[in-house]
Amino acid sequence: MPIDPGFWVLQTLNALQLSMLLFLLSVGLTVIFGLMHFVNLAHGSLYALGAYVAATVAGLAGFGAGVVVAPLAVATLGAALYFLLIRRMRRAGPMAQVLVTFGLIFVAMDVTRMFWGDLPMGISVPAWLNGQLDFLGIEYPAYRILIIVLGLITLAALTLVLTRTQVGAMIRAGVDNDQMAACLGINVERMFFIVFVVGCALAGLAGAIAAPVLAISPDMGLQILIPTLIVIVIGGLGSLKGAIAGSLIFGFVQTFGAVLAPSLASILIYALLAAVLVLRPAGLFPTKG
């Protein structure tokens, strides 16, 4: 058992990094679900698309441009998706929604293959992000620190908007009881649209910042889907707090599981998921209503 304190700091940073990546993905998915009661399994595909767009734009205009353009491009696609499909499917019931969005995953996978080919792609980051930073006396990759910082900024911004602004209050009202919110004069339909598009943009952002760390391949959306679903089920469907807690739990269990009990690494998180479902079926931070 390693007792070097630097080791624990490093692994904590690793855990935080993974948590923040998952947070960006799961928060969009969970808020869409909470507000619209819509299960969008194709959320992972939007993440993959974000990565591809970022790689393409980064090749032309640099990494920074890629990170800015990817969320915007994915949000635009999300808006199109909303008008073409999601709005019609709103009242179709969860089974139809799951089937349609599950089908979308495969459509998206083949469309990415058509545009970008079958081979995985890479993306390079600027030199200043390539090195390591001195952090509490230990060296840690600069890029991973950027992921953590970006995650924390998003977290702070979302918390601020949801708890301190009027739009946030309207969204929370909609999550708790959308019919009552509509009776009070809130344009629930427009709010749904905004939340959906912002959720898509966050998925695009997650894809863009994950791109330099992972292989950009057509199936990356499918691979991230299960961890994302675990996060929101543990945290509680539809709650922001749940997404934060779920991401942190997933990141830390996965990282420290890998280090301290490698043979159990792949089942630990599923065991935890099962325990949560038995003891708190609605998740750790369920939404009211």
Binding site: D4, D118, N130, I224
Partner: protein, 394 residues
């Protein structure tokens, strides 16, 4: 084998003129079973392109024999591979089966192929079992075996003065076979393995925890096997930790396969790995192959391409002996020997496994800024141990 009317006349002529059977107009039906769908499609295409190139290049050595290639998609799934194999054998009545990328598919179709007495040329799957405990007189390996690539590297690495190694591989059959073959050879040569970690296969997004652990382990080097997307993630994440200077990476060359070098970019520089083929091998045979493949598909051939090319060559070599149907091809295939782009190849009669040289190479920056493989050592060909193979009579 099907006779056309022309072939029937030719056969008639052959019996009267007493010419050899190889001069007859014969058709050999080849079943090519590779993945064409999903994320493995690139690999299937690569193998097919090279296989067809092999037929074009060497087909003229067997005038009168035409090859009818029937393609099937195994989707990298054992149950799909088995269904497609049965279709190829029963419905298409193929004379020889080749391709086969997934070790899972290899295992699933082995008994069917063996029972139907259809010769199978494994071009890609490295599954040790197929020429070990599960060996068959109908199965010939022309690609590589998992241990073949790793065992010589274990000995070589110990000779280079590397004493303590930390191994990392995905937690599935190939990961374990590769790691074990390396560990056995490395220990036998006096090396020490500090720890062997297996990461959840295709579920690991973040290798950070393992890399951090390896750095703290006191090892001299990391020995890692990853393939496909995991190889790219691992190589890039390893680079971001800046660990390569103090803790160099060694491993079987799938980590830095030609297919993934571009995506890995500069992060792959300095990695030393071993494989049975890299496109930079400096021989006339390889140069000719690289040129022809580039002209056909627009990029450098990977080891997957080479294996497809050599599978075609092996079938043609067998046909040169006059073999055209299942029984004669099955008898001839384990006896083929030729010098191809990767050097001199022979088949071990004890297991029907390939015996081939292994190349140790480093990833360096090439002339045009892209990375390339620099061969630094050629390890002599050595036969794998029989691993429980008792070869039945054909």
């Amino acid at each position: 084998m099907k006779f056309t009317i022309g072939a029937a006349f030719a056969a008639l002529a052959a019996t009267t003129c007493m010419t050899t059977s190889a001069a007859m107009a014969e058709t050999i039906k080849v079943g090519l079973l590779v993945p064409y769908s999903g994320v493995y499609a690139a690999m299937g295409k690569e193998i097919e392109d090279a296989f067809m190139l092999g037929l074009e290049t060497y087909g003229k050595e067997v005038p009168g024999v035409t090859f009818d290639v029937i393609r099937e998609d195994d989707e990298m799934k054992p149950q799909v591979g088995l269904a497609k194999t049965k279709k190829l054998i029963l419905q298409d009545e193929i004379d020889v089966l080749t391709g086969i990328v997934s070790s899972g598919v290899t295992g699933a179709i082995r008994d069917t192929v063996h029972a139907a007495q259809v010769p199978m040329v494994i071009s890609t799957s490295g599954n040790d079992e197929a020429t070990g405990a599960q060996c068959s007189p109908y199965i010939t390996r022309i690609g590589f075996s998992n241990q073949q690539v790793n065992r010589p590297l274990g000995t070589w690495l110990a000779e280079q003065g590397v004493k303590k190694v930390y191994t990392l591989a995905p937690d599935y059959a190939a990961g374990k076979q590769m790691t074990q073959a390396f560990v056995d050879a490395f220990k036998a040569a006096g090396g020490e393995v500090v720890a062997s970690e297996y990461t959840p296969f295709q579920k690991t997004q973040d290798f950070g925890p393992y890399i951090t652990n390896a750095k703290a382990s006191g090892a001299d080097a990391v020995y890692a096997f990853y393939a496909g997307g995991e190889a790219i993630s691992f190589v890039k994440q390893y680079e971001s930790f800046g660990a390569k200077a103090e803790l160099p990476i060694y491993g079987p060359g799938f980590l830095t396969s030609q297919l993934y070098l571009e995506a890995e970019g500069a992060a792959a520089e300095g990695i030393v790995s071993a494989l049975h083929y890299v496109p930079t091998i400096d021989t006339p045979e390889n140069k000719a192959f690289v040129e022809a493949f580039k002209a056909k598909s627009g990029h450098l051939p990977s080891e997957f391409a080479l294996q497809g090319y050599d599978a075609a060559r092996a079938i043609i070599e067998a046909a040169k002996t006059g073999a055209t149907d299942r029984a004669s091809l099955a008898a001839a295939l384990p006896k083929v020997a030729f010098t191809g782009p990767r050097g001199a190849l022979t088949i071990d009669p004890a297991t029907n496994n390939l015996i081939q040289p292994i190349y140790v190479y480093e990833i360096v920056k090439g002339e045009n800024g892209a990375t390339t493989q620099k061969v630094i050592a050629t390890l002599p060909a050595s036969a794998d141990p029989a691993n429980g193979c008792v070869m039945a009579a054909n």
